[in-house]
């Protein structure tokens, strides 16, 4: 009976986290005035209880030809599952923000490229896993190439 209960619980947790992913938006999407100067905001989707999701972010970039990584502080919003990312990486160079999230056993990842006018929504990539090193490098390449032109 106990096993059945645990099995049901596991199935329920997996079902809750089905399709766990990130949605990104401009700061106005958060409807929170404290986030108006954020670089972008994001929310989790597909996590039964959004408040239980664990999220983190790093900025990955190339500055003066050198590969750099900056751990970012993700600010939680007043609504569960909504977060803001403020720029704390250098203004120079080429950068992407690498988002990672877990909800129960489910994982989500996203790569959000940065341009001169802020985040580039159209080039953002979403994964059902944390982005791999090669996925990060692949996302950085066009930015570096574009900057050289």
């Amino acid at each position: 009976m106990l096993r059945l209960g645990i099995a049901n619980l596991v199935v329920a947790m997996l079902a809750c986290a089905e399709g766990f992913t990130f949605v990104i938006g401009s700061p106005v999407a958060s409807q929170q005035f404290q986030f108006k100067a954020a670089t972008f905001v994001f929310r989790t989707e597909g996590c039964g209880d959004a408040g239980t999701a664990q999220v983190s972010a790093t900025a990955e970039g190339v500055l003066k030809g050198e590969r750099q990584s900056v751990v970012l502080k993700v600010m939680p919003g007043s609504k569960p599952g909504v977060y803001a990312v403020f720029q704390s990486w250098p203004a120079e160079g080429q950068w992407i923000v690498n988002l990672k999230g877990t909800c129960g056993n489910a994982h989500a990842g996203a790569i959000v490229p940065m341009g001169p006018k802020g985040f580039i929504r159209e080039s953002a990539k979403f994964f059902p896993h944390p982005a791999t090193e090669s996925e990060v490098e692949t996302a950085l390449k066009p930015l570096i190439t574009g900057a050289k032109k």
């Binding site: 990104i24 938006g25 401009s26 106005v28 409807q31 929170q32 005035f33």
Partner: protein
Amino acid sequence: MFGRHIRHQVAGLLDGELPLAERKRIEDHLAVCGLCRAEREQVRAGMSMLKHLPPAQAPDTIWNAIEAAWPERQQRSGAWFRQGFRPWFLAYAALVMVAAAGIAYWTRVHHHERQWEVVKIQVSAGGDKEPIRKVAGVGPGDWIETDAASSARIRVGQIGSVDVGPNARLRVVATSPLEHRLTLERGEIHAKISAPPKLFFVETASATAEDLGCEYSLKTDVQGLGVLQVTLGWVSFQWKGIESLVPAGASCRTRPHAGPGVPYFDDAPEELRNALENLSGERSFDTILRVARVRDTLTLWHLLARAGVSDRVRIYDRMAALTPVPADVSREKVLELDAKTLTRWKEALAWTW
């Protein structure tokens, strides 16, 4: 809608002393009441400041004042009062001092919050590179006017600043902690506000810009022909029951006797922007629906409430084709212009704006 204000419960809320149900009721009220939100922010700021007040030594003269205030007790207790109860007396005096210091600090801070200050920048006749600067305090009823060669910066209490361009004329209407308001008669301003929403207002002849936590430029002529351009956050642009919600990256025109128009993103297709200029034209509407991108659902969402029933159906269908409609937003309710449903849809759409 707003129920009773919760001014007296704010301190308890911030101290975490209220029971859950009471806290929930107050938080619900705060979600819809700008006045109470502003009150909460003030109390929070005051409490934070009081925490950082340094302990102060009571001046000797305070004893005279306290003793004079308690003549009966002094007569009754005599020397006993002075010696036996001195520790209590000291504690009481310290309390009085802290309270007095707190009140003095509050008064100073609140006075500072109310204070508007203008820095006038005028290029000298000789064309010197360094402008002439004049600083002056302004209050309700004061006019600020710039000529072709001057501009000004107004410090709006402690909530932000307003840059006034050349050839502008504006009047300060209110400078209280709960409402900072000015009337822009003509010219252009750039406002940068870092306070909770609904504390800063700019009136023009045809619309009022209500700050929802933002940074924006507003230009108008005397008749009220103008344009609002938002660079950060949201602005509510209103006139006689018409409201346009303008997010960062978008603009909204306003016209005399018509009020704010439909907002559009600054990077919207030119065809769409031109069509908005002439909305009454039959083809304009078709053009807008045809060229609208996902992001232009901002424009389409505002058009819903301003279109006739048949056009509303077309707008809804176009919006639904551009981006999935959330499960809790029913077509029927949208077409009925149900306020709750429209707000819910706007909040979902904002993730694409």
